[in-house]
Symmetry: C2
Subunit: 110 residues, 2 copies
């Protein structure tokens, strides 16, 4: 993993990487559970295709969301915070101004 | 439903329609069961995306397979017979030469 911004220290890169990894695993686990639950309830073909459409959209979204090379890492982390996939504790160790920006962005629902 | 071939009688159209409907329902039911079973076993994200890929391919295949307006209805019925989604009994009432063609095609695995 390489975070391209020069204003991220090595330690901050590691914190960001760990946070993104945690959020990714949380989201994937939740998605796998959701798919298993929904699949078990399906009785109509339309519901099956709806699940397929949902999975297509989710896959596309997740593929883009966890791009570690994203120069807008602040926004990526803010989005994960906003979605509840990360807590502020997970970002402990980042510079104060970065944390403030991430928290503000997460709160305003950019 | 309209079977465009002029050499299909109204009764034969009805038989073909009923057979295709039965095969479609059998295939969809089996697919729903498969997806529910597979989803319950998934523990890795790669397996989830594999299931998604499988479902994408299957949906595309099914969309094309049950085209009632297909001028090659003989081939459609032969394929369903070959796949075990229809039995020859389901086609009872079709003209003898049509049945012979369908059975032959199904056997040779066109």
């Amino acid at each position: 993993m390489s975070v391209s911004q020069k204003n991220w220290s090595k330690t901050e890169e590691q914190i960001a990487y760990k946070a993104l990894k945690k959020a990714y695993e949380t989201e994937i686990t939740s998605l796998m559970e959701y798919v298993a639950n929904q699949s078990a309830k399906i009785t109509q073909v339309d519901e099956l295709w709806q699940l397929h459409d949902f999975l297509s959209a989710k896959r596309h979204q997740i593929d883009g969301k966890y791009d570690y090379s994203d120069p807008a890492l602040i926004f990526v982390l803010a989005q994960l915070l906003q979605e509840g996939l990360l807590q502020t504790d997970d970002l402990e160790g980042l510079e104060r101004d970065k944390l403030a920006k991430i928290s503000s962005l997460a709160q305003i629902g950019f």
